[in-house]
Amino acid sequence: MVEDVNENTTVFPGEVIKDVKAVKGVTILGPGLKRNEDPPNTLRITRAGKLQFKPPNIYWVSHNHKRYIPKRGDLVVGIIVKKAGDSLRIDIGSGEYASLSMLAFEGATKKQKPDVQVGDVIYGKLLNAHREMEPELVCVDSYFKAGKMGPLSNDGFVFTVSLGLVHRLLDPENPILTALGKVFPYEIAVGMNGKVWVNGRNTKEVLTVLRCLETAELHDDKVIVELCRQSK
């Protein structure tokens, strides 16, 4: 039984949280938690990790995974596996390939389709992700604008990192990417699925980013920041 949830308590599947805080009877649950029927007003942990609480009523478990489970609205990096008529099949690292319509690019029409090949890298958004259905990707937002989405350049490199590191990197307050950017310029697309695309001025710099993120898997943010400070 977890009593105090304000700190970063380590929790395991099966544990129960009592005294759940709610606003007007509403509690917002993130990943790794399920509502308990009996006893009422308790939560059950389903994943091992650190329990987080954001006042007034948001709970989630921050954890690390290797396997990606698609979720609606996630921005992901994927690789085109197959071109089949008007739709593309994209490997996003989940159990099933995602589908992406050729018409879901900015400015694409029936006659004018985007120029993409098998093996190209795509940055897109998950429109649909249901347990029993094939995930569906789009490269436009609700105003039919691409924004940052679309095919990524063929220079650069794609690699896979753990989902825990992705969550860390996408935190706006995380210093890793900024610290690296102060040493040399580079482009990066971090997908929620753990795939990361990097491009830099030359091979050496891309490899440096790769090494840095590999180190970040096992070490604290401070280690990377310190390394960047030394190499300046």
């Binding site: 190209d120 990524l152 350049s153 063929n154 650069g156 794609v158 695309w197 091979t203 490899l207 590999e214």
Partner: protein, 367 residues
């Protein structure tokens, strides 16, 4: 589900190799980190080559020999690449990769006569003229080697050979005694079991070729394997004998290139065999009945030397740890499971420090 490599990975790996760099930070001639995990039973070895993991399990039984070779035992390989290794493989289907791996391992270990099969004969007897009972009273050992690729992160051929070699050396068959027509098989605890007699020990070294054969790297990772154009697998032993050779892919290789690969393989096989020697030296210190005393004797005369390498040997409950200095085992001890899961050398070294301090205080209390 096939593993697809993106175009940018493809061009980047080749670009990096042409500058003498590899994406995982290795040099061109480097192998990934090799580690052996020995199980509680004899002949149970898990070899790790970086993230690639292969399990070899050896078992033995007494069988009737084949009628053509009535004085020879059997060495059987059963090799399996399951979907556990990678989602690219399916269950129950004999894939091209599985057949290739089986062929290479058999060529390496059976056709180069690693195990002395005549030595596996128990009762040879006289061949009777009666055609109906050819050799029913003959008895030989059948050594079965099960190989499972647990995790495929590139180059499982080298890893499988490492696992099989270590398992063959680790394996002990029960001792037997023959009195008249009767054969007695002793329990392992009653009589010390007998190792296999091995003539030599080959290991496979894989060299991969990229682009048009001008770029080259030893021990390709999964990403490199999907980009490479050709591969040369060399099965060599420490005596510089080539036992097996396999070349696939469409890259033509010149005689000089093959000779160069062989030279590299000779150096590599020395390194890998000495690593295996050290791992086996540790585990043989900690096997149940064999050499417990000598471990104690050693641990009483601990020498404080900088650890060269920490070997972790897992036998179910505890990790057996040992510090190695050049070729000698400096110390060996057992560590609870949770300590052993920290696999990097420095933290294991710390764990050893803790235990050393602990047992010193215990000794002080006892005296």
């Amino acid at each position: 589900m096939k593993n697809i490599t993106s175009n940018c990975e493809r061009s980047f790996i080749i670009e990096a190799l042409s500058r003498g760099k590899r994406i995982d930070g290795r040099e061109i001639y480097d192998h990934r980190k090799v580690n052996f995990f020995f199980g509680r039973e004899y002949g149970h070895v898990e070899a790790h080559l970086g993230d690639t993991k292969v399990l070899a399990q050896i078992s033995s039984e007494v069988v009737v020999p084949s009628s053509e070779r009535s004085t020879e035992g059997f060495l059987i390989f059963n090799i399996d690449i399951s979907p556990m290794a990678s989602p690219a493989y399916e269950t129950g289907r004999l894939t091209k990769e599985c057949i290739e791996l089986t062929r290479i391992v058999e060529r390496c270990f059976r056709e180069s006569r690693v195990v002395e099969t005549e030595g596996l004969c128990i009762v040879a007897g006289e061949k009777e003229n009666n055609l109906l009972n050819l050799c029913y009273n003959f008895k030989v050992w059948s050594i079965r080697v099960d190989v499972h690729v647990l995790d495929h992160c590139g180059n499982y051929i080298d890893c499988a050979c490492l696992a099989v070699s270590a398992a063959l050396r680790h394996f002990r068959r029960p001792d037997i005694a023959i009195s008249g027509d009767e054969v007695v098989i002793y329990d392992i605890l009653d009589r010390p079991p007998v190792p296999l007699s091995l003539h030599h020990l080959p290991l496979c070294i894989t060299c991969s070729f990229f682009d048009s054969g001008n770029l080259f790297a030893v021990d390709p990772s999964l990403e490199e394997e999907s980009v490479m154009r050709g591969r040369l697998v060399l099965g060599v032993n420490v005596l510089k004998e080539i036992c097996a050779i396999q070349h696939n892919g469409g890259v033509p290789l010149s005689k000089d290139q093959i000779n160069r690969c062989a030279e590299i393989a000779f150096v590599k096989v020395q390194e890998l065999t000495s690593l295996m020697d050290k791992g086996l030296a540790v585990i043989m210190l900690s096997v149940p009945n064999a050499a417990v005393k000598s471990t104690e004797a050693r641990s009483n005369s601990w020498v404080r030397l900088p650890p060269r390498r920490v070997f972790s040997v897992f036998d179910g409950r505890v990790f057996n740890l040992a510090l190695i200095n050049s070729s000698k085992v400096v110390e060996a001890c057992q560590v609870p499971c949770w300590l052993g899961t920290r696999t990097d050398d420095t933290s294991l070294g710390k764990a050893l420090e803790d235990i050393r301090a602990q047992s010193f205080t215990e000794k002080g209390k006892a005296s």
